[in-house]
Structures are given as C-alpha cells and as structure tokens.
C-alpha cells in the first residue's frame, strides 16, 4: 500500500526517505546503551520540505541546466509558495510546458537563463507575461 503524505511517497512499509542513524536496541537481555539516545530517524521530509501543501517533486528532462548542477533525469523539489526573485531556479510555463530555467530580473524585463552554453536564454519583455509555476529548492542528483 502506498501512503502519501503530501508529496511523500512511502511504499509497502519501506520508508524511502528515512535513514537509520542510531543502532536499534539489541534483542536479548541487555538494554542497549544507545537506546536512550535514539530519538527517531532523520526524516528528509522534515529537512527538505518546508511547506507540505505547496511542495511538489518534478523530474528533469534535458541538459540545459547542467551548469546549475541539474542533470537529465534528476528530481527537483519545487515549492510553489516561494516568491521567485532574481537568481531563483524556477519552473516556468512556456508554450504550455513546464520548463526549468534560472530567472533573471533585469530593467528590460525577465530573462529565463539556461545554465548550459549550448542552450539559448529566453527573454520575456513583460514580467507579467511570465507564469512561474514554482521555485526549485533542491536538486536530487543521481550520482
């Protein structure tokens, strides 16, 4: 049974986002001296997801953001509640598609900047024409 808590996905009792950081109590006789110090596992949700109802996970296709450390196939944590500012890595709506770029706000309007010299920047003359879907806060890069 998949359990979804906001954007989290936990499958069949295996918590994908939990990491054991303290030894479990030993089974026989002795109480483990570590037991008193075990205060739960690191919960990546707690650290990576600040706003549960506003956070989505998306997957990247393409290489235009390699310079920002975002590769084809990586997952991004996107918070829709954040205000995009100059320099934010954003998911923008371009021609009906979700597109990842770095937002630059200039006196002449906005620029959606690629982080790979092989890809062009996209100029948006009026900031109001730009639909920002969300602000990326983390990249889950496959190593």
């Amino acid at each position: 049974m998949g359990v979804i808590i906001g954007p989290r996905v936990i499958d069949a009792g295996v918590s994908l986002l939990s990491v054991l950081v303290a030894p479990v109590p030993v089974a026989a006789g002795y109480p483990s001296p570590a037991q008193d110090y075990f205060d739960g596992r690191i919960d990546l949700n707690e650290h990576l997801i600040k706003d549960i109802s506003s956070t989505y996970v998306v997957r990247v296709t393409g290489e235009s953001m390699e310079g920002a450390g975002i590769s084809d196939g990586d997952e991004l944590i996107v918070n829709r509640a954040l205000e995009p500012t100059d320099g934010s890595v954003v998911v923008a709506v371009l021609d009906g598609e979700l597109t990842i770029k770095r937002l630059r706000i200039t006196p002449d309007g906005a620029v959606l900047q690629a982080e790979n010299p092989k890809f062009p920047d996209i100029r948006v003359p009026a900031l109001s024409d730009l639909v920002i879907w969300g602000v990326a806060t983390r990249c889950l890069h496959h190593v």
């Binding site: 049974m1 979804i4 997957r59 990247v60 829709r80 979700l98």
Partner: protein
C-alpha cells in the same frame, strides 16, 4: 466591536479539470472533460467544455466522434491525483481558520470572523494562496449561514464582478434581493428536483419566494430539513455540522469529539472506528473505494496550537474491507502532534465503484484484478462485441481503438515516483 462568526464556503472550480491543468498547462484555455469510472460519461467540464454545450453526465460515446473537431480533451478520472490535491487544499485552508469542515473532495466550510473588509480580505487571501501554493482556482462565499455561504459562492463563480469572492453582507441589499428574485429555488443547496416541483405547486418559484415563507408552515407541509433551509436563507444558522454524507463519488465520515483527543492512541481508536463504519457503509451500498483520505483538526475555541493534518492513501485495490480501510486511515497517525487538542477527525473514501466479484480480503492479490483487466475486457466486449479483445493467445485481431481507455488517464503526478511531472530543460 465583537462580530458574529460567519461561515466561508470554499470550493475548487471544476475541481478534476483544474487538478489536471495544474500539472499540464497545455490544457489551459482548452475544453477539458473528466470522465466517470470506466470512462462512461463527463463528470467535470471546464468552462470551455460547458461553452461547447456539453452537459453534465453526457456519455463519452456521444462526444467522442466530435472531440477532434472541437479540440476537446477527455481524461479518465485520476482519483489519486484529485485525492492528494484535495488534501493539500484542505491543509492550506486549515491555516486560515481554526474551524474547518471538509464537506466534500473539493469543498469546505470554515468559521471566520471580522469586519466586512477583513472578511473580504481573508476570502481573497485564501483564494490567492490555494491558486498559487497548490495550483488550483477556488471561489469563496462568506455569509451568516451555510446555505447562504453556498449561494454567495455560486454568485462569486457566476458573476465576474465579484472576482471570485462574495461576502453576502457586503452585497447591497437591493442587489441581493434582485438576484434572489431571479434565481430558481433549485439553485439552493439541498433543494432537489422533486422538491422543486412541490414547492412550485405552492407558488414558490424563486429563492426570494422561499426566503419569504413562514418556517413553521413549511415544516408542516414538508419536513424539518426544508424548514432549516428556510431559516438559513433568513440568516439563522441551523444546518448541523458534520453529517455522514454519500455523494456522487465519495463517502465522508467526520465528527466532533465530546472531549478533545490529545494522543495518537486516541486518534488511532477514532480512525479504527471510522474505517469500520466506512467499510460497513460501502458494503451496504455495494461499493468499493480506491482512495482514502484521513484528516483531523483542532477546535475553533482554541485558536492557539492549531493543527490540520491530512493524508491521502491510494488503496492497493478497490476495497470495502475494514482491515485495509482501517490500516489506511492509520496513515494519519505519524502526522498527529502529541499534546495538541484535536476536536474533530474524519475520513473520506473516493473513487467508488460497484463491488466486483473479488474476495473481500485477498492476501494474494491477483495483479489482473488489481488492474481491472477483467472489467476492461468486459467493457470492451460489451461495447465492441465478442472477439474484439482477449487475453494472451485469445488476443488481438486488430480492430477498434480500445487502447484509448488507458491513454486518457493522466500520470499520478504527486503519488507515484515513476509518474512525476516532467519539466523541460531545453
């Protein structure tokens, strides 16, 4: 100055279509319909689809031949997506009021207080936050009673001048009376078709007519439910909160507690009771559910330490099994904060479908049953005749485009790791 509490009614515009658009912006501005279970008929229509004259419940086979010409996009019901988006909307709304009743998958009532200016600002803030943070559009109606709040919301939706937020008391009395005098009684929450005919027979045609009658007379001629509606139209709140409801495609259990519950163990017990009740009700209606949403909330008497946890759980198969439903409802427990005074909790089961002939509790799930291969075969055979489809060696001989059924289901963007929304880096 102390003001009487008011009720805000918030609902998502064309919920299912809007949830799809949140992840597929290319659907923006296009006619979109979402089809019922088994792709039978349209259950949600975007405004563009309504403008084409597509009626609620119109069967897909009638629309399909013209879909291409219209540019109409038809989608299968993606209840996992809708359940998660619903849980997000409710969680977000819970931040605006310590008193929230999840009324259905896409609507909620909230207790609110303030001056007319503050209430309008609150309504606009909620609307903006849901749109921006979750990604779906809502309208808000605020009024002294639930019935009027529903009506105010309807006005907010249908009249662009309101900007999607209508505060009943801020609308000039003359405008209110004019609108109520022009709207049929059918437009009121809880007045159904048969009741309308009986009211019409008594010379009650418009909302204004009904608001003008004597509540006691109406109780004698009809029943206490209609009397309450009249009282609510007159501004006296009297619709009890939190009843068990069965809707088109959902069943909700939600109750306030006599005493607040402050422990996870206590909530576990409540969830277990609801899980079993839901199972019993589903069985009684011959239904099985595919999605369960569980939620809890703190009281409006205690504006500090508010907490509105909710979870959406896709079930492993359509089920009315109490063990599975209860286990699923327990997914809420890790989100319960010990020591917080929870005043209410509930569960909602959605993606309901008629009970098949599966065993009630199958420890060894049949993957074909789980994927409804049987149902699909039956459907295709019924529609296109025997021999149009078969399993394995009984298989395909070419022919009708039956695979479309699968194509119309959008990804489960927020609940399945391998179906995440794709963003282009190009």
């Amino acid at each position: 100055m102390r003001r009487m509490p008011q009720i805000a009614h918030v609902d998502v515009n064309c919920f299912y279509a809007s949830a799809e658009r949140a992840f597929n912006p290319s659907l923006e501005g296009r006619p979109v319909i979402v089809l019922s279970n088994n792709d039978g008929c349209a259950v949600t229509r975007s405004p563009e689809a309504k403008a084409l004259g597509i009626a609620m419940g119109e069967p897909w086979f009638k629309l399909a031949p013209r879909a291409k010409e219209w540019g109409l996009v038809a989608l299968s019901s993606n209840y996992e997506l809708y359940g998660d988006i619903s849980a997000r909307v409710m969680e977000l709304l819970g931040r605006y009021s310590a008193w929230l009743e999840v009324y259905s998958i896409d609507e909620a009532f909230l207790g609110v207080k303030g001056t007319p200016t503050e209430l309008l600002a609150l309504g606009r803030a909620m609307k903006a936050a849901v749109r921006r943070n979750v990604g779906v559009p809502v309208c808000v109606g605020i009024a002294p009673t639930k019935t009027l709040a529903k009506l105010a919301n309807k006005w907010a939706k249908n009249n662009p001048a309101f900007g999607g937020v209508c505060h009943w008391d801020s609308v000039p009395a003359a405008v209110r009376e004019d609108l109520m005098g022009r709207l049929s009684v059918e437009e009121i929450w809880g007045i159904a078709g048969r009741l309308t005919r009986r009211l019409n027979a008594l010379g009650i045609f418009t909302i204004a007519d009904l608001a003008g009658v004597d509540p006691v007379t109406i109780r004698d001629k009809f029943n206490v439910v209609v009397m309450r509606t009249v009282l609510e139209l007159q501004g006296t709140p009297c619709i009890p909160m939190e009843e068990e409801r069965i809707g088109r495609d959902q069943l909700i259990f939600s109750r306030s507690f006599a005493k607040p519950i402050t422990t996870t163990a206590g909530i576990r017990q409540v969830m277990s009771v609801y899980g079993q009740q839901a199972a019993a009700r589903l069985a009684k209606h011959g239904l099985q559910a595919k999605i369960l949403t569980a939620f809890a909330g703190t009281s409006h008497f205690n504006p500090k330490d508010t907490s509105y946890p909710s979870v959406c759980v896709p079930l492993p198969m359509p089920t009315a099994d109490p063990v599975i439903l209860t286990k699923a409802a327990h997914a809420l427990l890790p989100r319960i904060v010990e020591g917080i005074r929870y005043a209410r909790a509930g569960i909602m089961v959605t993606d309901l479908r008629p009970t098949g002939n599966q065993a009630p509790l199958s420890l060894f799930e049949n993957p074909h049953e789980e994927r409804h291969i049987g149902e699909l075969l039956e459907d295709v055979t019924r529609r296109y005749g025997r021999g149009s489809i078969g399993l394995g060696f009984a298989g395909i001989r070419g022919g009708p485009d039956w695979t479309m059924k699968g194509d119309m289901l959008s990804p489960r963007y927020t609940t399945h790791w391998d179906e995440l929304p794709l963003v282009k880096a190009a």
